[in-house]
């Protein structure tokens, strides 16, 4: 997801400040996972990369928002299926956090 955002904001620097919170969030989530006991980083949740770079910054932002919503849903699904309750809570919190960040972006 961080890579997806970076690709889009490189083409649209004006979008960068709007999604700075989301970028920081994903980095914080990655750091949380790397700090888990056993340091086993889970397989990345697949996100569809943008098909093409739109010229309009607003459309570019919408691409990021749609990808974030997909990730939010994937995390909620992963939380519902997790065998560990603690992992489920972590994944559900990550999902809810994306919802919060999207609401203020």
């Amino acid at each position: 997801m961080v890579r997806t955002i970076e690709t889009i904001v490189t083409a649209h620097p004006k979008v960068r400040s709007r999604v700075a919170g989301l970028t920081a969030l994903h980095q914080a989530h990655l750091a949380t996972f790397s700090g888990l006991p056993g340091n086993k980083t889970p397989a990345p949740v697949p996100t569809k990369p943008p098909v093409a770079h739109p010229k309009n910054p607003e459309v570019a932002y919408r691409q990021i928002a749609v990808a974030e919503q997909r990730l939010q849903q994937s995390l909620a699904k992963a939380a519902s299926e997790a065998r560990s309750g603690a992992l489920a809570r972590l994944l559900a919190g990550m999902s809810a956090s994306i919802g919060q960040h999207l609401a203020v972006a």
Partner: protein, 142 residues
């Protein structure tokens, strides 16, 4: 990580949080001037309705487990001052954060349909926090 709870106990604890939230959002709404602070009044009213719906849903889930849903207390002490609009907002945020935390705990201690409900409720509560001035967090409900 918190102490493990049975799913029914987790549901009862979430219900207790929702009982308190419903009472307190009603209380806060009654302290808010609709004419002077229409936005805050609308947010408090919406929260009250949503918490009432969540309370009803949790009572149904607990009954499905064959347990008796815990009753509400007679009254709840507001967890902060409630005189000015800013105070009402801050106190509402404290109440909402308690609910978010209860749902985080419920996610951890349930599975299946109960957990799916808890995940959705955690997300909804985390969003409501924003209306009362919370900044987005890295892991709401933890």
């Amino acid at each position: 990580m918190s102490m493990p709870l049975s799913p029914t106990t987790g549901l009862q604890e979430s219900l207790a949080a929702e009982h308190a939230a419903m009472y307190l959002f009603g209380f806060l709404g009654a302290r808010c001037s609709e004419s002077q602070d229409p936005d805050l009044f609308a947010e408090l009213s919406t929260s009250f309705v949503q918490h009432r719906h969540s309370r009803d849903k949790l009572q149904q889930l607990i009954a499905k487990h064959g347990a008796e849903p815990l009753p509400s207390a007679i009254a709840y002490e507001p967890p902060g001052p409630v005189t000015t609009a800013a105070e009402l907002r801050r106190t509402a945020l404290v109440v909402e954060k308690r609910v978010t935390l209860a749902y985080g705990q419920l996610v951890e201690n349930t599975s299946g349909a109960d957990r799916t409900y808890a995940i959705g409720s955690l997300s909804a509560s985390a969003l409501r926090e924003l209306a009362y001035g919370a900044a987005p967090q890295v892991l709401p409900g933890s």
